[in-house]
């Protein structure tokens, strides 16, 4: 058999290769991934990359413009804020906070969403109705208003931001998992598994769940960017991360009064939010096209 050469195309590509070849056709998605990886690296290695600490204040160096602008200082590439803290360092540490929020919210709401979604689908009846009514309720309260409600009870902090935003995005996952699980139910392999004596927990998580994963992964990727936006909005309203945490939304709130005098203090944190959210959304769009052709939006 060793001397028989088969053309490469005859071999079925592995799932990852197939995914990558579909994903890499989408230039926007690859661009998004590259930017996203850069942001992740900045966030993870912030301690080495950032030139200063995020909260170190340099006296007499307040509100410096970026290095290339008139009056800039080459020690502070992107200038300093109103308290003389290095903007570049704060932005880099801010990436860490935003990604942390995005990923925590996503993990919490995905984990709870999968469980509740599968439970609703498997139990049916009253449990299903009650769960879905609760999800309806959560969805009927505008996301930010709900987050405000949660934060105003728990008090503003980074942790409570994560709790609030997780609650807001929970229904998306519950409904998605429940819907795809229900769609799988009538299929033969489920009946076969039941006949073979597979217990309910195993049936839920091992048999059914893997077949619902594709849309879930897509939703989760886009959920990270939504969570980042929502958390930044809370930070901006003063209900999220508290000073001196270098959270991008909170940085914007601090910068509001300098709109007229020091525009870059206002511009940079917002640009950081926009760039990270766009990169995750582009990546998510690519994921959707590659993983789930049914959802592809031409």
């Amino acid at each position: 058999m060793a001397n028989v050469t088969t053309p490469a195309t005859a071999q079925p590509a592995g799932p990852f290769v197939a995914f990558w070849s579909a994903f890499s056709q989408n230039r926007g998605a690859v661009g998004g991934l590259v930017i996203l990886l850069t942001i992740i690296i900045l966030a993870v290695f912030a301690d080495w990359i950032a030139p200063y600490s995020a909260i170190e204040q340099f006296r007499g160096m307040t509100k410096l413009p970026p290095a290339w602008a008139e009056g800039g200082d080459k020690h502070f590439w992107l200038g300093t804020d109103a308290l003389g803290r290095d903007m570049l360092s704060r932005l880099i540490y801010g990436a860490r906070i935003s990604l942390f929020i995005g990923l925590s919210v996503m993990s919490v709401s995905v984990a709870i969403g999968i469980t509740l979604g599968l439970v609703a689908a498997f139990m049916g009846g009253a449990v299903d109705s009650v769960l879905m009514r609760i999800m309806d309720l959560i969805m009927s309260i505008p996301s930010l208003v709900l987050a405000i409600l949660v934060v105003s009870i728990l008090g503003p902090s980074l942790t409570n931001t994560i709790v609030a935003v997780s609650v807001v995005y929970l229904p998306n996952y519950v409904r998605l998992v429940r819907g795809s699980a229900l769609a799988e139910f009538g299929k033969d392999y489920i009946i076969a598994a039941k006949v073979a004596g597979v217990g309910p927990i195993r049936l839920m998580f091992v048999t059914v769940l893997p077949n619902c994963l594709a849309p879930l992964i897509v939703q989760a990727a886009l959920g990270v960017s939504n969570a980042i936006l929502e958390a930044a909005a809370l930070g901006f309203l003063g209900l999220g991360a508290q000073p001196p945490t270098p959270e991008w939304g909170a940085m914007l709130a601090d910068a509001r009064e300098f709109i007229r005098s020091n525009p870059w203090i206002v511009t940079l944190p917002g640009l950081a939010i926009l760039v990270s959210v766009v990169s995750i959304n582009l990546f998510g769009d690519g994921l959707r096209d590659a993983l789930d052709p049914k959802l592809r939006r031409s």
Binding site: G28, R133, I134, D136, L137, M139, S140, I141, P142, S143, L144, V145, I148, L149, S152, I153, G155, S225, L229, A232, A233, F236, L237, G238, L239, G249, L252, R256, I259, R260, P263, V266, T267, P269, G270, L271, I273, L274, V277, V278, N281, L282, D285, R297, S298
Partner: protein, 336 residues
């Protein structure tokens, strides 16, 4: 159809009950003594505490308190604001037209620009316009609108001095009693020269800021829905009949492509109200969103409780109407 409406109406009742329950529980979870939370007084004497405890019904069992709360709500009593001593419902209704005007104008802006842009991108698929528009759409729905607002203020208001920074109208020059609560209409009715123009000037930036995300969503949805429809047989038939391209697109394709777009517009309502909170805060727009945020700052929990209840009820009702409307347009939903 009547059966469909009834079923849909019945389904919202548990949601309303749950909403009342959540707001009822929420104010109890606020840290601190419940009397102090509700009266806004701190360190009050035991006698007054006992008096208020009785007055507020806090000495009753919890289930009785909840029933009383529901009873009050059903009679239009949404509590009294601590900071203004006004009824929460009265305050809400005074401020709501400002939010409604802003939201309506924003969604109109999004629809008027988004649908033609999406149609054009679909017709010219793969062109530079298509690519630019889709790129802009991704940026649009990724936009932190609070930053977008600040950026526009920086550029348009501070840089070019084209629009004012805050408020709904130039209050120094123009004053009139609100008739409809819509500044655009009231300023016209007032017969004061320049008042309407001033109102428009104040509205432009908030409209753009609040309309950006819906604009991006509508443009994307229209494009993809249009692309789907354009490959249908009846479009080919229309072309084969020798109809002009304009007729084919505007009459045959667009009408069918709009069905999913209508749903998307309906789904934007909740998002619009959330966006209004941010937009109103940035532009000091005196609507319910800014009022809600201010209430948190003032620790005005009754206002917060009533406001959240009212805003959410509104969203539930609008979603219900959208559903019913959709059922009326599309019989398949009704029987589904």
């Amino acid at each position: 159809m009547i059966k469909f409406i009834l079923r849909r109406l019945l389904l919202t009742i548990p949601t309303f009950v749950a909403l009342m329950f959540v707001t009822f529980i929420a104010i109890r979870l606020v840290p601190g003594d419940p009397v102090e939370v509700r009266t806004g007084e701190h360190g009050i004497s035991p006698e007054r505490l006992a008096y208020f405890r009785h007055e507020l019904g806090l000495d009753q069992p919890v289930w009785k308190q909840f029933l009383d709360y529901v009873w009050q709500l059903l009679h239009g009593d949404f509590g009294v604001s601590l900071s203004s001593n006004e009824k929460v419902l009265t305050e809400f209704l005074t401020l709501f037209p400002a939010t409604l005007e802003l939201s309506l104008v924003a969604i109109l802006f999004a629809v008027i620009l988004g649908i033609p842009a999406g149609v054009f991108a679909a017709v010219k698929r793969g062109s530079w316009f298509d690519h630019t528009l889709m790129g802009a759409a991704v940026a649009g729905f990724s936009m932190p609108i609070f930053w977008w607002g600040l950026l526009l203020i920086m550029l348009v208001s501070e840089g070019w001095h084209l629009t004012p920074v805050a408020g709904r109208i130039d209050m120094i020059k123009y004053y009139f009693e609100p008739t409809t609560g819509f500044m655009l209409i009231d300023s016209l009715l007032s017969d004061q020269k320049g008042a309407f123009l001033s109102a428009v000037h104040h509205l432009v930036l908030p409209m753009i800021v609040l309309g950006t995300v819906p604009l991006a969503v509508i443009a994307r949805m229209t494009r993809s829905s249009m692309l789907e429809v354009l490959s249908e047989d009846y479009v080919r038939t229309a072309r084969a009949k020798g109809l002009s391209e304009f007729r084919v697109i505007s009459l045959h394709a667009l009408r069918n492509a709009l069905i999913p777009v209508v749903t998307v517009v309906g789904l934007q309502v909740g998002g619009l109200l959330a966006g209004a909170v941010l937009t109103e805060t940035i532009f000091s727009w005196p609507g319910v969103g800014k009022w809600l945020i201010d209430s948190i700052g003032r620790r005005d929990y009754p206002a917060l409780q009533g406001g959240i209840l009212l805003i959410s009820s509104l969203v539930i009702i609008v979603n219900l109407l959208v559903d019913l409307l959709y059922g009326a347009i599309n019989p398949r939903i009704r029987h589904g």
